[in-house]
Symmetry: C2
């Protein structure tokens, strides 16, 4: 009999999933983890540099490689990872599967929460690893790859636990037949679909991967974790923590394997098309995402790219709004899938509690708010972080060539701590509503488009059209009119895009809270999956019911 240790944690998480009020298992304040935790994590991170990462409980590698470079120092981390063939990875997952599949979901969930507790012990190691692979600021690295990711993982565990316990595992079915009755012994089993593959991205290597990893595991499937070759370390540390707990509990560490590869010899497509892979979770660009979605005979969960809109109609306090938006667009230099890109502003301007502001005044206020934030010596560099890769930097550099009116030119970021940071402040461009060849594309990174529309009606129409055609994960809207609010809600919701209204103060459209906000709806081209709606769990297993006539 397996002793269930984390029952209370699991049940609270199930309740939180359903109530959708504020809930968090892992505090987002670094100080909650003890005085010395941060420094110890930094030291452990530094000890990993410039050597092979030998901590994984995997054997049979064909070689070692690594190509991570810190966006802050632009120097190589010098870490190499073991390489495995797709066949080897799938064979090991297949061999590990039966014991896990035949373990109850209660025990699986309990062990998985224990793995999260183990990951928690490495939050600060992972924070530094995230910072120096993704370019996120230290605080974002800590929160996104640490407590926020763990909360999302717990959310998936809880949803799996709830769904698999939803129907009785066995019962006697008795049908009245006049004076007698007919009895059947019935058994309901949630049969796992098979080995999962989780394909990570270079900007959120932990936050975007843990939900798929835990969703696969809680439903009884082994998982192979394929990180982006430029951002392996953060998730390698998490996988290692998971493997250690699995082994301690008497299970094979091959239930959760790391599948590192290189830009020169990628193995992602081979893995995707391997007949032994039944489930795929993907985060990244739309082109590869569309390929993954097109694979037949696989159950696929995607989070791809979208173009997020802001609709400005009317506001109470324009300065509060502009400060909020300036922060949203500057945070991690627009490299969040939730960051706004297209700002729809009516030609006649925006009404405020005071007077009507002209279009140009609104533009000026937005420009000023961004400049004030990014040049703020205490806030600027920390908010912007670094650009993960050179493609994003070049895109920002070349914003002037898009053919739009330049409102604010981007500049190299001055970072006192990291003189060689790959950074660029946001470029702001103004276009007309007819310039859709410019704004109908994702300009990932620090490039913003202010689009002058005929009126709010046209703003809504364009934002809706963009979301329906190209996908959207968020939409921010500012209006003081209940009618306009209703119109925006209807229009955006009908292309399956959530709307955040009148955000000011310490809450930003980029943020999606675990246990409350569904992340990506799954209904538009930005992705087919959602963290964590029931479907994200249910499509990983199949209900099978056996029946038996007993003693008659």
């Amino acid at each position: 009999m397996f002793m269930i240790k984390h029952q209370n944690t699991i049940e609270k998480a199930v309740k939180a999933n359903h109530e959708r009020a504020f809930y968090s298992q892992y505090p987002e304040h670094p100080k909650a983890y003890g005085e010395d935790a941060a420094e110890q994590g930094r030291q452990r991170y530094e000890q990993l540099l410039n050597k092979p990462y030998k901590q994984l409980l995997q054997t049979g590698e064909t070689g070692w490689a690594g190509e991570e470079v810190s966006p802050y120092t632009q120097e190589a981390l010098g870490i190499t990872y073991p390489l495995f063939t797709p066949d080897e990875l799938v064979a090991r997952a297949t061999a590990a599967a039966p014991q896990w599949r035949n373990t109850t979901v209660d025990v699986r969930a309990d062990i998985l929460v224990e793995t999260l507790e183990s990951v928690k012990e490495r939050f600060f190691d992972i924070a530094h690893a995230t910072m120096h692979t993704t370019g996120q600021s230290y605080m974002m690295s800590f929160q996104a790859s640490g407590p926020h990711a763990n909360d999302r993982a717990l959310e998936a565990i809880a949803m799996g636990y709830h769904e698999i316990n939803r129907f009785p595992s066995s019962l006697v079915w008795e049908k009245p037949m006049g004076k007698t009755s007919l009895q059947l012994q019935k058994q309901f089993r949630a049969i796992p679909k098979g080995t999962g593959l989780v394909i990570g991205c270079s900007t959120f290597p932990v936050w975007n991967s843990l939900p798929g990893i835990y969703a696969d595991l809680v439903t009884g499937n082994p998982v192979i974790v394929k990180p982006h070759p430029k951002a392996i370390l953060p998730i390698a540390i998490a996988v290692n923590a998971i493997q250690q707990v699995l082994q301690e509990k008497g299970f094979s560490p091959n239930l959760c394997q790391l599948a590192a590869d290189t830009s020169a010899a990628p193995i992602t497509k081979q893995l995707c098309e391997h007949p032994g892979i039944r489930l795929i979770d993907y985060t990244g660009g739309s082109q590869f995402g569309n390929y993954v979605e097109s694979l037949t005979g696989k159950t696929v969960f995607t989070e791809k790219a979208g173009v997020n809109s802001v609709i400005l109609d009317s506001v109470t306090d324009i300065d509060a709004v502009m400060q909020n938006l300036a922060f949203s667009v500057s945070l991690y230099s627009g490299q969040m899938c939730t960051a706004p890109q297209n700002f729809f502003i009516p030609a006649q301007g925006v009404s405020t509690a005071g007077r009507q502001l002209t279009f140009d005044e609104v533009v000026q206020k937005f420009r000023d708010a961004v400049v004030a934030l990014v040049t703020n010596p205490k806030m600027g560099a920390g908010t912007l972080g670094a650009l993960q890769n050179d493609t994003t930097l070049q895109r920002a550099h070349n914003a002037g060539k898009l053919g739009a009116k330049m409102i604010l030119e981007g500049q190299p970021v001055v970072n006192e701590e990291f003189a060689h940071v790959r950074g660029f402040t946001p470029a702001i461009l103004e276009v007309n509503s007819t310039d859709n060849h410019i704004f109908e594309q994702e300009l990932f990174g620090p490039v913003l488009l202010l689009i002058k529309t005929k009126d709010t009606e046209e703003s809504i129409q364009l934002a809706r059209q963009m979301a329906g055609k190209h996908g959207a994960i968020t939409c921010a809207a500012y209006t003081t009119s209940p009618e306009v609010k209703e119109k925006i809600t209807e229009a955006m919701n009908n292309v399956f895009t959530p709307v955040s209204f009148n955000f000011t103060g310490f809450i930003w459209v980029n943020q999606h809270a675990a246990f409350s906000d569904f992340h990506v709806t799954g209904g538009n081209p930005a992705g087919n999956a959602s963290f964590t709606n029931p479907e994200f769990i249910l499509r990983r297993f199949v209900w099978v019911g056996n029946r038996e006539v007993t003693g008659s």
Copy 2:
């Protein structure tokens, strides 16, 4: 304020869905519906013959056509149905959608239960219509198209009601921030995906269509019902009942439209590929089903064909087993998607409570049991029913050409009531386990294959392989050994096929009970959907969460 009338019915159904014990809202005994109901239904059915079916609340038809022929009399029913263009159908559905979408699921569920009550008033009309289009016996026609179909529909309504009420429609989210807190007003909306298309089959035109129709409607989507051109009347009567209630309640009858077509000018593909169709439910052959599954940008639910196996290992009472199996294979002449086709019997025979029976003795007992049933003047014709179409008849006629040893030749059915019935008794063939070119195909209708295997191990292996490769909806197994039972369970469940063990007496593998048995698992090539698991409902809408900063 809408008065909810059927709250109690809905809540009991939700509870039944979760408990999965015996439950039924609509009694399966014809007598439960009153003394005169059967005769009145027959009269109403007869009044429909030989004239246009003008009862539908649809206008704008481009013509009238009908080609139904009774498998019992082989005479045309002479009924014509209005024909509509796909564009017209989709346009009307689209226009009807907003009012329904913006109605709460509580009200939608209530109205839908009311429609089932209205369908109930026509159970006997539908029974006769089913009998004379599908060839089912009168009793099966009544039960399958009447109470059993309505129970499945209620199951879908209840699952939709539960899922959409699962998360709060609105709440205040409050995040503690030290001494203060951050508040957001949140709203969660289940946004319907869009117009659904339900494609029916010729053998179970109501039972297989109601789940998709009600799943679409309860989740807020309009639905277009495309019946098989040879079996329109049963579902036309149901659609008519639904339309009348919708209209009475102030909604557009175009929320549920009948889309009749003809064999000469089919419109199914046009509808499937119409950009206005977002959801497709399909029941029928695998070839068209695979086409439906290949459509991109649509959410698709299929119930296709499979090859169902029986594994004979060891039994207590061979005669009880053979009687049970003889009935299973004879019921509606094997035209049920749940009917067994392939019987795997070890070469060394089958052990019983008495002695070990040789292979040939088992074959003989099975043959005898089938002959006894089909030649029984009270039971035979009623159990076999009629063959829906000539293709099935020809397949049975030509069973001798399959290249197998003929154990029992099929014969034309003698039916005292219907001299011209299209009927044929089961043909039984014996093959070896190497004859997979013969048994690896669905032989829809009254053709059975007895497959001589090396041992039960090989029987399991072949049954598993068949289900994995060609799909299976049921598997019957007979064994007195707990070890063998476990092996069969593991093998078949891992290809997502449920097993019915040791069925004797008044329960048959063909039967799947609403509120308890999931019909089709959705995990093997027999179909991707299941009546009614949560996924059958969830994939028809998208959760979208809106947030708002209020008063700060």
